[in-house]
């Protein structure tokens, strides 16, 4: 029997991309995607089920569909587009329900993959230049998104301890840039003025969006257990990134940075979530040698990621945004009645 995979956040960027990637894998028998909204990408064989953002329905779905793998892509790492309350609900409560479903007695789940972020390391003057997975952050987590991600990873650690038979994979991705994804950093780099903190020129590391999907696929396909940093090779200073992207730096004062940024954010001139204030001061680097040992390396280096991003941006500036060519129509009831994804355990089918 092939793999039966459940993907969370099918309606979000990563869920959609991951489902598309798994569809071409013949070893994956069934793909089921959960989302709060309809998926926005064309999918051939992925089943969609609508759920609330905390996934309270999940244990029923896991039992009914007998999924053996859960890919948890639905973790918010960009606090500028989500309220604090929603962020907590999605990240912490969502993961809690997901792990509860995966850990229920007689659970068919054999692997859980969690897409976390290098935000868990924070960014401070006392940091090492390269973080390894076993190192912990050197400064207390002050931003909401960092606190929620730390809580999520704590839940996952507990789950892994309680369920030694289940393969648990946690991937910490560096800042993502790519052809399609929109993040605070990418939108800043797309404008003619891009924020910096005066007097600081931090070294940053990037990972390309295709490498993110490739890495999720890699650990899922090979059932790689453990905790891994994922980032492109090398680092480059923020001033150089902005120069490559042809944007001018707008230096914010090193003191009261966030208060000065707030009105500019409100006016829509810049994006400046609190996490960005830290990373634009001290930067961040993660060591990816542990991931390399599992047989995976990112195709794009950090510099290659930035260059690929700016090439895509130039194209988009010339030809405009491609129109949305796809809308999804189906609802949850039909799914339960007609989908071949449902496994009738009692044998009455």
């Amino acid at each position: 029997m092939g793999r039966r995979v459940l993907i969370t956040g099918l309606d979000t960027f990563w869920g959609g991309r991951m489902a598309q990637a798994l569809e071409s894998d013949p070893e994956v028998e069934m793909i089921l995607g959960m989302g709060t909204r309809e998926p926005s990408v064309a999918l051939e064989r992925t089943e969609f089920v609508r759920a609330d953002q905390t996934y309270s329905i999940l244990s029923r779905i896991v039992r009914a569909t007998q999924v053996d793998t859960i890919v948890h892509t639905f973790l918010v790492v960009d606090s500028s587009r989500t309220s604090g309350r929603a962020l907590h609900e999605i990240n912490v409560i969502g993961t809690m329900n997901l792990l509860a479903a995966a850990g229920q007695t007689g659970s068919p789940v054999r692997q859980v993959v969690v897409k976390s972020s290098t935000l868990v390391y924070g960014s401070a003057s006392t940091d090492p230049v390269w973080f390894r997975e076993e190192m912990s952050r050197t400064s207390p987590a002050r931003t909401r998104v960092e606190r929620s991600l730390l809580e999520v990873e704590g839940l996952v650690r507990d789950f892994a301890e309680d369920n030694p038979a289940t393969v648990v994979t946690v991937l910490r991705f560096a800042n993502v840039l790519g052809t399609d994804i929109v993040t605070p950093i990418s939108s800043n780099l797309s404008r003619s003025l891009c924020p910096s903190v005066a007097g600081y020129d931090p070294l940053l590391q990037f990972v390309e969006e295709d490498d993110v999907v490739r890495c999720l696929e890699h650990v899922t396909r090979h059932r790689v257990p453990g905790l891994y940093n994922v980032a492109g090779a090398g680092k480059l200073p923020w001033s150089e990134v902005s120069e490559m992207c042809g944007t001018r730096l707008l230096p914010l004062p090193p003191v009261a940075t966030l208060s000065v940024a707030a009105p500019l954010v409100r006016l829509g001139l810049i994006d400046f979530p609190p996490e960005l204030g830290d990373i634009l001061r001290y930067g961040r680097g993660v060591d990816t040698s542990r991931l390399t040992k599992t047989g995976f390396t990112c195709r794009y280096t950090s510099a290659g990621t930035v260059e690929n991003f700016i090439r895509a941006l130039r194209l988009r500036r010339s030809v405009g945004k491609p129109p949305a060519s796809y809308t999804y129509e189906q609802d949850i009831e039909q799914f339960f009645r007609h989908s071949s994804a449902i496994v009738h355990i009692s044998g009455d089918a």
Partner: protein, 293 residues
């Protein structure tokens, strides 16, 4: 005619190729064109080069630096250079880094307190000039994985913050962290005795309250300030610099260990400290003049 036509054809083909990129092989790494030469530690050879050009005259004509035993520093491979630290705004670090980079043609990374990283502008310039925060993991990577030269002052800020009355008296060598760094990296420790830095910017007294207020480790009032006013912050006295490289110290311990015997570490640190202290006294015995050596 024919050659022109083929030339045109090739050009067209090239153009076509650049318009429609062919799918690249899956294992090929895609790198971008860097615009600067800033490395992973934040050091830029370009900026170092500029700094060396500016610092050259000061090194040659102001401090008239003289080295002894420079050949003891290896031309390849990692080594941890340790030296005594002095002067309100220490003049020894740039002298050592400049000297070795000029004479041996290999970069020197300077480990220092996180404090430098926090200071805007200063921190950025410091990093571009080869400064690295003194995190044990950073040191291990530069020394062991990359085989570079690393300079560290085991006295920390206690060295440069001491007043002129304590000149050439080595402070405590921290907790011997530099020995552990060298042991873990499996590299030798090379002590360097520096004479001259003490007199280039002597501290008369310190103002701890002011230091606390502006958030710096110490606030010195120097003889230079007394003579030149605010200019004294950057103007060194032309003390004659003499540097003596001591024999490399190696430890017969397996590298990459999590911890080493604390007593062994402290013992090695103290031996190096004593040796450095005695060398300093010896050099001072030989010195006839502060200004002419």
């Amino acid at each position: 005619m024919t050659s022109m036509a083929t030339g045109k054809e090739t050009a067209q083909r090239e153009q076509r190729a650049s318009l429609v990129p062919l799918p690249r092989p899956a294992d090929e790494t895609i790198d971008g064109d860097r615009l600067s030469d800033v490395d992973e530690w934040g050091r830029s050879e370009h900026i170092r080069n500029l700094a060396r050009r500016l610092y050259g005259p000061l090194y040659k004509h102001w401090f008239r630096v003289e080295w002894e035993g420079l050949e003891k520093i290896p031309k390849t491979g990692g080594a941890l250079l340790v030296a005594n630290h002095a002067g309100a705004i220490p003049s020894d670090a740039p002298v050592i880094m400049h000297g070795i980079e000029e004479e041996l043609g290999r970069p020197v990374y300077g480990l220092a307190d996180y404090f430098f990283r926090e200071a805007p502008w200063v921190g950025t310039m410091w990093a571009r000039a080869g400064g690295v925060p003194a995190h044990p993991d950073n040191a291990r990577r530069i020394l062991r994985d990359q085989g570079q030269l690393v300079l560290v002052f085991p006295e920390g800020t206690k060295g440069p913050s001491k007043t002129y009355t304590d000149r050439y008296r080595l402070r405590r060598f921290g907790r011997g962290g530099f020995i552990e760094i060298a042991m873990r990296a499996g590299v030798p420790v090379i002590p360097i005795a520096v004479v001259g830095a003490e007199e280039s910017m002597p501290i008369l007294f310190r103002v701890p309250r002011l230091a606390k207020l502006i958030g710096v480790p110490y606030f010195p009032v120097t003889a230079n300030m007394m003579l030149f006013g605010p200019l004294g912050l950057g103007l060194y006295f032309p003390a004659k610099f003499k540097l003596r490289v001591l024999d490399p110290v190696t430890f017969n311990v397996p590298p990459a260990q999590e911890r080493y015997s604390k007593s062994r570490v402290m013992e090695e640190a103290e031996t190096i400290r004593m040796h450095l202290q005695e060398t300093l006294y010896e050099m001072l015995r030989e010195r006839r003049s502060v200004w002419f050596g």
